[in-house]
């Protein structure tokens, strides 16, 4: 457990060290700090959205050590020493992730508020299962609510991204 100090206000504050999108941040956070607020307020990474604040909608989905979590349900203190990836960390040096490319091609998001969460859930799926079935894709994003799209273009885009990365891999091997 991280070290803590108790301030004049009686609130415990912890010294945490968290790697976000490859950068290590050392910060003092309140005991009740939620990961979603830490990312949005302390690190200004507002790509991660805050909506239901109780783990229902998935808009705040990020990867924690490669696994998708609702960051509104995670205490920042519990992430000490671990690795977080947000939507801002998907592209590297302005090279978009294949999922982002396919989201663009299929015009997957509409209002786009749920898009970062869906991207992260899809990323976690493809890391674990590079060749998912349509059902597996639907299952992987079932915790991400979207009111605009009926998920149709999202599902198509994720399947297409999986197929494209398989092709690229095969191309490289062959």
């Amino acid at each position: 457990m991280a070290e803590f100090v108790v301030g004049e206000d009686g609130i415990k504050r912890y010294l945490v060290s968290i790697t976000v999108n490859g950068i290590k941040y050392t910060k003092v956070v309140k005991a009740n700090s939620l990961l979603v607020n830490f990312l949005r307020e302390d690190l200004n990474l507002t790509g991660t959205k805050r909506a239901c604040e109780q783990g229902d909608c998935g808009a705040c989905t990020v990867l924690l050590d490669g696994k998708p979590v609702n960051s509104c349900m995670v205490l920042t203190v519990s992430v000490d020493g671990r690795e977080v990836t947000t939507v801002e960390g998907l592209a590297s040096n302005d090279k978009l992730d294949i999922l982002q490319e396919k989201f663009i091609e299929h015009s997957a998001p509409q209002c786009g508020f749920c898009a970062p969460g869906i991207l992260m859930s899809a990323k976690a799926l493809l890391m674990k299962n590079p060749n998912p079935t349509e059902y597996e894709v639907r299952e992987a994003i079932a915790g991400n609510l979207c009111r605009c799209t009926g998920y149709v273009h999202y599902v198509e885009a994720i399947l297409d991204a999986a197929a494209a990365s398989q092709e690229r891999k095969d191309g490289k091997n062959g």
Binding site: N32, R40, N44, L45, T46, G47, T48, K49, R50, A51, C52, E53, Q54, D56, C57, A59, T86, V87, E88, L90, A91, L96, Q100, F103, I104, H106, S107, A108, P109, Q110, C111, G112, F113, C114, A115, P116, L119, V137, R138, E139, I141, A142, G143, N144, L145, C146, R147, C148, T149, G150, Y151, V152, H153, Y154, V155
Partner: protein
């Protein structure tokens, strides 16, 4: 008689429209760069929340804020005494809402005041310290309770708690009754639902001298500006509204929310930017979503199934205030006559106020429930006559170039063709009546206005204006319009239209929207209006630019002196411009780039600007309330759904859906299909699961996404979205709406499919497993009893 003009199958090819070009905002949306209201931060910003009532109907005796004020970090607390006592709303005849309740609260969650503090944590702590003392009054939670003679009166101005009463008759219903071969009555109920956008409302305001700037998750920069100016007695020019990306609206971000008003008031008092925000449950209390409706239809038909008359009585649960509710009540009856061609129609409606959150507009405004009810009713009539459901729709579908009995002029309209296409695509003939027990197929029709014919308040302003500015060296263009992209893709569609109108590359255009200082008037995203109305303004602005470019180019281009198609000086009429190249139509080899011409224009005249303007003019309908429902153009649509019902548990799964839209010329097919997919998703949710539930005190019981169930990716069926090739003469390049119209047939077609699957009609939405299970048990008991 003039030969009837058909707007079918007019297939045309263009450079930039009719194509699924990449969304203008897509990179922002897949990288997390795009800013929504809650993502904005300003230095020294405070955080604010509304203080909400914890009684449904009560007199406010005392508001004690002293403990909260003592909490370090609390900056200001305001109640009714600190703000103007003016009433506001969206329908001028029913401005009935105070900024904060003055004497009494009218629903659990009503606005009592607002508070701001240095951070969210302090804010929530302070909210708990505010004590409100009430004298509790008896409350009413249903129209039936509200209508009782001894019911408590919620508003002085609405005796009997009747907020809106409508009695309209067209043709002669009594006479038609005498002529009818068959008459049937059905009564069905639609429930109170919620828009279900994921982004809760958020509004940030700050003052600079006499001017205030508001950044809000809102569907209309103009109405927000207009109403804030009115409420605070300011000039509209002193109110700047800037809308960031909007996380969905569906009608729920059209009203002026308490957040907008409180942010303006609190930032004035504190001199600091104030961010007001709802948490998700407060979105339920903000309400303004679909009315609960109780609908009775009596219809008379000929032996062949032709509709002779319809009598429609609808009762709406309005909740506590009006908002857009007057329009909702009129819409509940206005558009049936557009869908089906019959002469005699009676529409009676009562919108009651109750002590629940106010209802307003939700995607398809006032339409989806009546469509559900009438489409169910029509299926029963077909069944009674021994007809196929699609057959009765084909007989009664309205045709193009007609006028409805309530005076609406309908130009392009191909509902019959939509039914035929949906029938064939869904394999209807092989399925209807041939599916096993527990599996069913159903059809539903719908459609919508393409923009409201009138502004929400009385004005002579045009509905949309646009401006296009070409950069000095001609290498880029900026399109200005305050049409609001709430996800539907209007920024993209309007940029495509600008490119087409100017003959200028799409990728070299940026759209500047959602800012009343920087961009130009448009009424915003509601009533499915922007593709047509903002589309006209942008098209005309683009054509204005093109006119100037061609005139300038005529001075610069010279036809070949040897062997050219003619000698002498060129005129602008001989030129055209496509994809950034100006050329002589008869001799395209003689050309020059748009950019070169634009630069020459700039050197000679200064900035190159095109201007466009749109006003629908006077539209059809002369009766009281004709302003609701009259429109330059009407879309139509047929949907078919196939469902599987678990006969043991009553659980419905929608397995296949087909939509055929008569949407006019389609500017961006990918975006159109996206609208249809989303409409099915919302409609399926509303048919099977969704309902806002309250306890006996009027407190929302399912104000979260765990208990108010939106469809997930696992719930969504196969969706096939098909488009009829039609052309609307009142739309730029022939366009019509899709966004709201696509929601209107869904409830009816899914409900009809469930009926087909289980053989019992459940007359109240949503069709939950429990209701289906009970209905099946009752049916079983009845059948046993009958034997």
């Amino acid at each position: 008689m003039a030969k009837e003009f058909s707007y079918l199958n007019m297939k045309r090819e263009y450079s930039y429209i009719g194509k699924s070009l990449k969304r203008t905002d897509i990179l922002d949306k897949v990288t997390g760069r795009g800013k929504f209201a809650a993502d904005l931060k300003f230095s020294n910003m405070l955080y604010g929340k509304l203080i909400r009532s914890t009684e449904a109907h009560a007199r406010i005796i005392k508001i004690d804020t002293s403990e909260a004020e003592k909490l370090p970090g609390v900056r200001a607390i305001i109640t009714a005494k600190d703000v103007p006592s003016i009433k506001y709303g969206l329908s001028p005849a029913r401005y009935d809402e105070n900024i904060f309740c003055i004497d009494k609260v009218r629903y659990y969650g009503d606005k009592i005041g607002a508070i701001c503090a240095v951070d969210e944590e302090t804010l929530y702590k302070a909210l708990k310290l505010i004590k409100v003392e009430y004298e509790v009054l008896p409350a009413v939670f249903t129209p039936a309770e509200a209508a009782k003679p001894d019911a408590p009166q919620i508003f002085e101005e609405y005796p009997g708690n009747i907020n809106t009463e409508i009695h309209l008759e067209f043709g002669d219903v009594e006479k038609a009754k005498q002529e009818a071969y068959y008459i049937r009555t059905d009564r069905l109920q639609g429930q109170r639902t919620l828009h279900g956008f994921i982004e809760p409302h958020c509004s940030i305001a700050y003052w600079e001298g006499k001017r205030v700037t508001i950044h809000s998750a809102h569907q209309s920069a103009h109405y927000l500006q207009h109403h804030i100016a009115r409420i605070f007695d300011m000039k509209e020019g002193d109110v700047r509204v800037v809308l960031p990306y909007i996380g969905g609206g569906f009608g729920g971000k059209v009203d002026i929310s308490g957040l907008d008003i409180a942010a303006v008031a609190l930032s004035k008092i504190t001199g600091q930017p104030v961010k007001m925000f709802y948490d998700l449950e407060e979105v339920w209390y903000n309400g303004r979503a679909r009315h609960g409706m109780d609908m009775k239809y009596t219809t008379g038909v000929t032996k062949e199934g032709k509709i002779l008359f319809v009598e429609n009585e609808t009762i709406l649960d309005g909740g506590a205030y009006t908002g857009l509710g007057v329009a909702s009540a009129y819409y509940a009856g206005a558009l049936l006559t557009v869908l089906y061609d019959f002469d005699n129609y009676r529409f009676d409606a009562y919108r009651y106020v109750t002590n629940l959150p106010p209802c307003g507009a939700q995607r398809g405004h006032g339409q989806p429930h009546p469509r559900y009810a009438f489409e169910s009713h029509l299926d029963h009539i077909a069944e009674d006559l021994g007809m196929d459901p699609i057959e009765i729709r084909l007989i009664n579908a309205r045709k193009a170039n007609t006028v409805t009995p309530n005076g609406y002029e309908v130009k392009s309209y191909y509902l019959k063709e939509a039914n035929e296409m949906a029938r064939d695509a869904s394999g209807w003939k092989d399925k209807k009546g041939k599916l096993p027990v527990g599996r069913g197929i159903g059809v539903g029709n719908g459609g919508f206005v393409t923009g409201a014919g009138y502004c929400m308040y009385r004005t002579d302003l045009p509905h949309s204006v646009a401006m296009i500015k070409i950069y000095d060296d001609g290498t880029h263009a900026i399109v200005y319009t305050n049409a609001v992209d709430i996800g539907q893709g209007s920024d993209t569609v309007l940029t495509q239209m600008a490119a087409q109108a100017m003959g200028y590359p799409y990728e070299d255009i940026t759209i500047c929207t959602r800012d009343t200082d920087l961009s130009t008037l448009d009424f915003g995203a509601y009533a499915s209006r922007q593709t047509l109305m903002a589309g006209w303004a942008v098209k005309r602005a683009g054509e204005d630019v093109k006119r100037k470019i061609l005139a300038q180019a005529a001075e610069m281009l010279k036809v070949k002196e040897d062997g050219g198609y003619r000698f002498g000086k060129l005129t602008p009429e001989e030129l055209d411009c496509e994809e950034g190249i100006v050329f002589v139509k008869q001799e395209p080899a003689v050309n020059i780039t748009f950019a070169e011409v634009a630069r020459a224009y700039f050197v000679k005249h200064g900035v190159l600007i095109g201007r466009g303007y749109y006003h629908p003019g006077k539209l059809g309908g002369t009766h009281k309330g004709a302003a609701v429902g009259t429109s330059p153009a009407y879309s139509s649509a047929t949907q078919v759904a196939e469902v599987e019902v678990d006969m043991e548990t009553g659980l419905t799964k929608v397995v296949g859906t087909w939509d055929v839209h008569d949407s006019g010329f389609v500017v961006n097919p990918q975006l159109l299909h996206g609208q249809v997919h989303g409409a099915f998703s919302m409609g399926i949710g509303e048919t099977i699961w969704e309902k806002v539930v309250f306890d006996e005190k009027g407190k929302v019981l399912n104000g979260n996404f765990a208990e108010y169930r939106l469809p997930t990716a696992l719930d969504m069926p196969y969706v096939e979205s098909l488009v009829l090739d039609t052309f609307e003469p009142n739309g730029p390049w022939g366009v019509k709406e899709v966004g709201e119209g696509a929601t209107t047939p869904t409830l009816g077609c899914v409900a009809n499919a469930v009926y087909d699957a289980i053989g019992v009609r459940i007359s109240e939405l949503p069709l939950t497993p429990e209701k289906i299970w009970r209905a099946l048990k009752e049916k079983e008991a009845k059948e046993k009893g009958g034997k």
